[in-house]
């Protein structure tokens, strides 16, 4: 095994890229869960975003338009979830799982005409001379706009939840929907908005896979990233900056695992590729061992449907 073949600066730069899809999706899901809704359809919304993003980017020959379309695609799929759970009061877990299965099937149908087609490349941002700074330039200044956007979105969500009245109302709805209703807040409408945001974020994350990471279309391209995003929300105990940490940690393990394979590590490939998932399970077990604290951060009304009975 030749560890000298692994360049730390390149490793860090590529883990930042690897983390983007799950980071976007997890940020969206964090907002959804803060509003008290558990949407397990992240994987389905991501892959819808992936296929919509690729298809539209190819047709319009513009990655930016592709990303917008991906957000719209993810949000459109989440609208089905919102209708079923908020209006018809369907069970959120079952509906979320159905959404994932539906998304996987529909994306595969739409993607049939796009197998093997390369999408237009997403250009990097040009930071001029900053790019040439040794190490730092490689890590920070050679990325495409979506990498920076994902960090900005985390900062924005953090500020929204912590400092604004809208964020306070969102948290209140997720904490106790009966009390929020008694005070005159529109529980269903607020949750609908959160679900749509979550869908759009998951769509963006999916498009990043099909437009930048892979970049082409294959069935099941998201390969479980949506589930990891769901796990990271719990790992982050519903705190935005910890989503960044969790996503980079996960991205790091993914990238390291690829690098170790390339460097010829004497471990079967299968172990390396399952390592990120194993570590996620491990972290979740450790997190939930301390039940009191974790339960404190969790939105109290998570997964419970609201119906104004009186």
């Amino acid at each position: 095994m030749d560890l000298s073949a692994i360049n730390p600066a390149v490793l860090i730069a590529s883990l930042m890229v690897a983390a983007v899809p799950i980071m976007l999706a997890a940020t969206g899901e964090l907002v959804v869960e803060k509003a008290g809704v558990l949407n397990l359809g992240v994987e389905g919304m991501m892959i819808m975003g992936a296929v919509c993003g690729l298809a539209i980017a190819v047709e319009a020959e513009s990655p930016a338009v592709g990303f917008l379309a991906a957000a719209a695609g993810g949000a459109a799929l989440s609208l089905i979830f919102a209708f079923l759970t908020q209006v018809l009061l369907a069970n959120q877990v079952a509906t979320g799982l159905a959404l994932t299965l539906f998304g996987l099937g529909l994306s595969s149908l739409i993607g049939q005409g796009y197998v093997g087609i390369k999408p237009p490349p997403t250009p990097r941002l040009d930071f001029g001379p900053l790019t040439d700074i040794p190490v730092l330039g490689t890590i920070l200044f050679r990325h495409d706009p979506v990498v920076y956007l994902s960090v900005l979105i985390i900062a924005a969500v953090w500020a929204l939840l912590k400092f604004t009245r809208a964020g306070l109302i969102l948290r209140a709805v997720g904490e106790n929907h009966d009390a929020a209703h008694a005070l005159g807040y529109k529980v269903q409408r607020i949750r609908l908005a959160a679900i749509l945001f979550g869908g759009a974020m998951a769509g963006l994350g999916g498009a990043y896979i099909s437009l930048v990471r892979v970049p082409q279309w294959t069935d099941g391209i998201t390969a479980g990233a949506g589930w990891i995003a769901l796990a990271i929300v719990v790992f982050a105990s519903w705190k935005p900056w910890r989503i960044l940490l969790g996503a980079y940690l996960f991205g790091g393990i993914t990238v390291l695992q690829l690098n170790l394979q390339a460097a010829g590590a004497r471990i079967p490939v299968e172990y390396l590729s399952m390592s990120p998932y194993l570590i996620t399970i491990l972290v979740l077990v450790i997190m939930s061992a301390d039940r009191g604290r974790a339960a404190l951060n969790a939105p109290a009304a998570l997964g419970r449907n609201f119906h104004a009975s009186r």
Partner: protein, 511 residues
């Protein structure tokens, strides 16, 4: 101050019907500025629906309201608040994981910035003798402190009319006194108060006028100070109530002994039990009082077997069973009825027969070799319904379809019908109408007279004083030494419950 000329709020002919029930029918009354006006009625008399219409949460079917002479029809609570109507809810409309300032901000139309709001909360809460720290999490506050949050939230908006829905059900007698001082101060400043309660003495002490509701209709309007509590009760219930008859039988040997019981709460905002010790003899009723959230739920869980402890902390008929589960304890003779009827005491979507089976299976022998004896189960359920006068179309009805009082009669009856040696009940008459409550109390007394040891955990002091032989109070997870009920004064009881929880202290720490 009784309103002679000026009228703040006038309600005329309000009617609201829900499928199957008329909550309010042609209700009219008027409130003057600075008046403390009582709405008196039993559970289900339509008080809550009425104030929800005034607060804009429910839209009336017909009828009109005028506020300061202008037509008043709030479409949502926000517009009610804007016009100077504020409300303190019975079941707190608070968010446990948010802090005090955030909770207050959520109830305001245009809250100031957080820092300014925090200092206003400090100031107003000091002015009214209700000290509050704006940065504390509401989940960590006592019930009395939570109510302060709600009151402060209302006061910050400078209301003209303050609606209070059963505000004293969670307070110790000392805290009630302080609340009344605050309310009198508000009334002197010209704020009208609409005070909802079924506690007669409180209304006689505080209110200028009372409107009495029965089954959604106004049956009387009176000045409560001029009436006796008994008159008010009869107007409210519409029949004469007979208090339960106590048994004078001698008590037997110790049936349930709890010593040094300490257990953590399964709920993050719950209260841990700390070194709880007591014993109950055969034929005796031990009443355990306390403000909600002082360990009542945890005590019930520890006694019923849902929370397990060391073997010898709980002894049934001198056999250790602290590590036994609910079914083993049932077999040993201990039955329990928790507070939450739907979802804890009964499975809401299962029929009464199935619910009878769930707790009666072991003691009544309803299951043999893994097969259910449905005929015996139906007979058992039917027997409960007959003996405890549960009003239901049949035993095949789902538990959630019963009214609160009827389901409570079923749940308590189910446990008492298993010939238990020890009965543990939490809040046996919570949200139950007066005649059903009297029947449940009588059933508990009768079971004790037949030789069972009974533990009644309740927040209703009058109930405990009526039926308990001995009395103890839970305060912060600790249990006071049980004392004979006879000869206890309300002051002593209040002190056992933890006194004013620091509210009085505040009057002396003015800066």
């Amino acid at each position: 101050m009784t309103g002679t000329g000026e009228v703040l709020l006038r309600v005329e002919g309000l009617t609201k019907a829900y499928p199957g029930v008329v909550a309010n029918s042609d209700v009219s009354f008027a409130v003057a500025p600075g008046e403390v006006h009582a709405l008196l009625g039993e559970n289900g008399a339509g008080k809550s629906t009425l104030v929800k219409m005034i607060y804009g949460l429910v839209k009336p079917d017909s009828g009109t309201m005028t506020l300061r002479g202008a037509a008043y029809a709030p479409a949502k609570p926000g517009s009610a608040r804007q016009q100077g109507v504020a409300m303190v809810f019975q079941h707190f409309s608070l968010f446990e994981a948010l802090n005090v300032a955030e909770n207050v901000a959520l109830g305001m139309q245009h809250p100031p910035r957080m820092r300014a709001l925090a200092s206003r909360i400090r100031q107003v809460s000091q002015d009214y003798g209700l000290p509050l720290d704006p940065d504390r999490l509401v989940g960590d506050l006592s019930a009395g402190e939570r109510q302060r949050v709600e009151i402060i939230r209302c006061l910050l908006q400078d209301p003209k009319l303050l609606i209070m829905d059963e505000p004293t059900s969670v307070l110790t007698p000392q805290e009630v006194d302080i609340l009344f001082q605050t309310l009198r101060q508000l009334s002197a400043e010209g704020t009208a108060i609409l005070y909802i309660s079924h506690k007669l003495e409180e209304i006689r002490a505080l209110c200028d006028t009372a409107t009495i509701l029965r089954r959604g209709k106004v049956v009387a309007t009176c000045t409560p100070r001029e009436k006796s509590a008994r008159d008010l009760a009869e107007m409210m219930v519409g029949e004469t109530l007979t208090p339960p008859a106590r048994s004078a039988k001698a008590k037997g040997a110790v049936a349930l002994e709890v010593s040094g019981l300490s257990v953590r709460s399964p709920n993050p905002f719950g209260t841990a039990l700390k070194n709880v010790s007591f014993s109950v003899r055969k034929g005796e009723i031990l009443g355990i009082a306390g403000v909600a959230g002082n360990g009542q739920d945890e005590l019930l869980l520890a006694l019923s077997g849902e929370l397990r402890t060391a073997r010898d902390t709980i002894r049934i008929n001198d056999a250790g069973c602290g590590d036994a589960g609910p079914n083993e304890r049932r077999r040993a003779g201990l039955v329990a009825a928790p507070e939450e009827r739907l979802g804890h005491a009964a499975a809401p979507d299962m029929s009464l027969t199935e619910n009878a089976l769930l707790s009666g299976a072991s003691r009544k022998g309803l299951v043999s070799r893994g097969l259910i004896d449905w005929a015996a189960t139906r007979a058992f359920a039917g027997q409960i319904v007959d003996r405890f006068d549960v009003r239901t179309p049949g035993i095949w009805v789902a538990a959630r379809a019963l009214s609160g009082g009827n389901l409570q009669k079923f749940v308590v009856g189910r446990e008492l019908s298993q010939a238990p040696a020890i009965v543990v009940v939490n809040q046996p008459t919570w949200g139950v109408d007066a005649s059903a409550a009297a029947a449940i109390r009588q059933a508990l007394i009768d079971r004790a007279a037949e030789g069972a040891a009974v533990v009644v955990i309740s927040q209703d002091l009058d109930e405990l004083l009526e039926i308990a032989d001995r009395f103890a109070a839970l305060n912060g997870g600790r249990l006071t030494e049980p004392r004979p009920t006879q000869g206890l004064t309300v002051d002593e009881i209040g002190l056992m419950m933890g006194g004013a929880h620091g509210m009085e202290v505040a009057h002396h720490v003015h800066p």
